[in-house]
């Protein structure tokens, strides 16, 4: 029966999750404390969670409900975006439960089933529960297996069960396929939500709006006018305390396989028939299938490891000196590569992807760099300072769009041209109304809205692209060292110079 209070005429009503709860695995972990639990509080605070929303924590700790509530409280106090309100906290707190047990212990899942059923009874969660696996991927098989055998994973016509998983979605094509197959035996495709938090960002969604809502950009969006595309995600931090996670994984698996290839797909894809999830996904899959690696990987990829140095005025240690890292580790903390897209629109336009830790500053951007004008009717000296036109999507921080073009320098007697930039920033990232990506994504999971979550085909296409590069690098020994606080190893500049191009400084 449809809800008489919802009408297509009514554009004002915000989307609120229906009756439901979440079961969180890995509550003591970094992600759960810094992102997931604060985002749940922020959603509650903004009134997006249903009455009776419940949060069940699961961990190998001898805790009572109150002890877990205290953990949530501390994490909210420290990391939530919206102000702490006692009233909101009380509401949330009433729905907090804890189940103690080992991830491999069937009895713990029986207890979990009991708690979940009790919540349905007491708080009206209606049998709808999302299982958030904020645990190392190595533990997914045990948990999924038990969710299946205990019956917790079973969807019924009037109650849903969903699973949320975090990257990395495997470490190569084979392991990704195994993981997808495993998840697929427990949950159907529509109930699996893979989090790529980049897709929850407003500016990432804005790439599609800018491209497909305007007449002004799309005609230029092809190899006739675009010279190259540079997609950069730079972090100023090192690996922090996450040595166990990072070593053996590295920058390409951690960032390029998911975030950067998603950004590439959104930048390069054809117009979808509609913005329905299936249509957008179809276009992303098409363009990712057309991605080709260069034949000579030595010439067109680059990697590096950060060395000790000064970062923004503070001395920092190198990767190999970080606690918990094998001093002879070959894991790269900087990765760059060229890819091409074999279709009519993009033939001959290189897409350069790069990411690294301990770089000059934190920035993520997609820069579409245009060709030079075919003829410049100026004296050579007059256009010496003129670079290529560019349209830049700034993903974070200072989300916005920058356009760069040439303009006359004022107060010069002859025409002198130089680059100017025009900047647009819609709204501000710091108001209560501008949600964190995790809020958006968790709400979408609870509502069951799939467009912002990659499906297994996209994940596997990502690995198909990346695997040959990883195999090649595995034979190359130690990556080059680069000084912390700069823009990465020298090899990346040589890599572009070979193509007669240069990186823009982000």
């Amino acid at each position: 029966m449809s809800n008489p209070l919802r009408s297509p005429l009514d554009q004002r009503l915000p989307r609120i999750a229906g009756p439901c709860g979440m079961v969180l695995f890995g509550v003591t972990g970094d992600l759960a404390r810094k992102k997931v639990m604060p985002a749940i509080y922020d959603l509650a605070n903004r009134g997006f969670l249903p009455p009776g929303f419940s949060l069940v924590g699961f961990a190998r700790r001898d805790w009572a409900d109150e002890d877990f509530a205290q953990i949530v409280h501390d994490s909210v106090r420290e990391h939530a975006r919206t102000p702490f309100r006692e009233e909101t906290w009380q509401q949330l707190c009433e729905g907090i439960r804890f189940v103690a047990g080992d991830l491999g212990d069937p009895a713990a899942y029986d207890e979990l089933s009991r708690v979940v059923a009790e919540l349905d009874e007491q708080r009206g969660t209606g049998g709808n529960h999302a299982f958030y696996l904020s645990i190392p991927p190595g533990l997914f098989p045990v948990v999924l297996e038990h969710l299946k055998t205990s019956g917790l994973a079973a969807n019924t016509p009037d109650a849903w069960r969903r699973v949320v998983i975090e990257k990395p979605f495997g470490h190569d094509l084979k392991s990704a396929q195994e993981l997808n197959a495993l998840v697929g035996t427990v949950f159907d495709t529509g109930s699996v939500f893979r989090i790529d938090h980049y897709l929850g960002k407003e500016t990432v969604q804005n790439i599609l709006a800018v491209r497909f809502a305007n007449e002004m950009f799309e005609p230029l969006w092809n190899s006739n006018y675009v010279d190259n595309v540079q997609i950069t995600m730079a972090e100023d931090i090192g690996i922090g305390g996450r040595a166990g996670y990072y070593d053996g994984i590295g920058a390409a698996r951690d960032v390029i396989q998911n975030h950067l290839l998603q950004l590439l797909a959104l930048t390069a894809m054809e117009e979808p028939l509609t913005f329905a999830a299936a249509e957008v996904r179809a276009e992303k899959e098409k363009v990712l299938s057309a991605v080709r690696l260069p034949k000579d990987l030595a010439a067109h990829t680059a990697r590096g490891q950060y060395a000790a140095g000064w970062q923004g005025g503070t001395p920092v240690v190198g990767y190999l000196q970080e606690e918990g890292i094998d001093p002879s580790s070959h894991t790269e903390t900087f990765a760059a590569m060229r890819v091409d897209i074999d279709n009519r629109r993009w033939a001959g336009v290189p897409f350069y992807l790069r990411t690294g830790k301990r770089l000059g500053r934190r920035v993520t951007e997609v820069a579409v760099v245009f060709k030079r004008a075919p003829h410049l009717p100026f004296l050579a000296e007059a256009v010496q300072e003129l670079g290529n036109n560019a349209l830049v999507f700034r993903i974070q921080p200072d989300e916005g769009i920058t356009v760069r073009f040439g303009s006359k320098v004022p107060d010069t007697s002859s025409i002198e041209v130089r680059d100017v930039t025009m900047d647009f920033q819609y709204g501000e990232a710091f108001t209560e109304s501008s949600p964190e990506a995790y809020e958006r994504l968790i709400l979408d999971v609870l509502i069951g809205d799939p467009p912002l979550f990659p499906r297994h085909v996209e994940v596997e296409l990502g690995w198909t692209i990346l695997d040959p590069v990883l195999d090649y690098w595995a034979e190359q020994g130690q990556p080059d060292q680069y000084a912390s606080g700069g823009w990465g190893p020298q090899v990346q500049y040589e890599m572009l110079a070979r193509d007669g191009r240069a990186w823009r400084r982000p």
Partner: protein, 298 residues
């Protein structure tokens, strides 16, 4: 802040641009112009609330204060650009003497080119906002029946004068109530027999919320007045019992449903800024409001 006396609309526009240049940010990313038509009692709250919204929707805010009490026609302006109150441009204009009747002529040179214009009357509004000289430039016209001297009469006037693009803040004040009610009915609750809305005497939001519920459910609606602030509760008779949502304090409400334990929900009273921000999120006509206001039995 810059003060200009005995000035003109064009001079105010020039002064805003000059101030932008002086601050070193000559390009702007403004997305709309908001015209506020107010008196001395309402202008300051309305302008302040709108300036805070400029953080979310970068805009130029022009507050027009007609002061017909003076004998000589004169325009005085106070201008601030990108201050502590928000990144927008704000001009508060006092229109004295005969000029009070010609606010339109002052506003025209101040409208940002080629971007939407929104008009907002925090107090008494014209009988036909869409035909008002200032309303005519505006694709969205926001009134506030709660700010009028006689809210009942204000609603009658809004009903008679309605044109697509009109909205009222009394309606925006219902949004959170509407949204928790809609969420409660996402899980089927069966047929609705009777609706009771309780709230502040003469508060137009109480009337609009009742009208909306009556329409959507096709049920009878009873209104109970009290001395609380705004809407205090909604109770709905269902086949298997009563469901109700009752405000408890400024931030929470209590929801009761048949066969379920009582639960607390978030229902925060919102600031004027939050209401204006909601209005500016969509600039196309609010058809649901149109349906509710034009069929209001009043």
């Amino acid at each position: 802040m810059i003060r200009l006396e005995q000035t003109s609309g064009g001079a105010v526009a020039a002064a805003i641009n000059a101030e932008r240049h002086r601050l070193g940010s000559p390009t702007t990313g403004m997305v709309l112009t908001l015209l506020i038509i107010a008196d001395e009692d309402t202008q300051s709250d309305a302008t302040g609330a709108a300036a805070a919204v400029a953080r979310q929707h970068p805009m130029r805010i022009i507050t027009l204060i007609p002061r017909a009490d003076a004998r000589v026609s004169q325009l005085d302006a106070e201008i601030s650009v990108g201050g502590d109150d928000g990144p927008g441009e704000v001009a508060v204009l006092r229109l004295r003497g005969e000029l009070a009747e010609h606010g339109n002529s002052v506003a025209i040179p101040l409208l940002l080119p080629d971007t939407p214009v929104v008009a907002y009357w925090p107090g008494d509004a014209p009988a036909h906002p869409a035909d008002d000289p200032i309303g005519r430039h505006s694709q969205r016209r926001i009134t506030d029946a709660a700010g009028a001297q006689d809210p009942w009469e204000a609603l009658r006037v809004l009903k008679r004068g309605y044109q697509p693009g009109d909205t009222d803040l009394a309606w925006a004040r219902c949004t959170q109530w509407r949204s928790v009610l809609a969420a409660a009915f996402d899980a089927p609750l069966g047929d609705v027999r009777h609706v009771r809305v309780e709230g502040e005497r003469n508060n137009p939001s109480v009337i609009l919320l009742g009208a909306w519920l009556g329409q959507q459910f096709g049920a009878t609606v009873e209104t109970v007045w009290n001395d609380a602030l705004g809407i205090s509760s909604v109770s709905i008779d269902l086949a298997d019992g009563l469901m109700s949502i009752t405000r408890q304090d400024e931030k929470t409400a209590c929801i009761v449903r048949p066969g379920r334990a009582e639960a607390q929900i978030t229902l925060a009273r919102r600031s004027l800024s939050a209401l204006i921000a909601e209005e500016l999120r969509r600039l196309d006509p609010d058809d649901m409001y149109g349906q509710v206001i034009t069929t209001l039995e009043i």
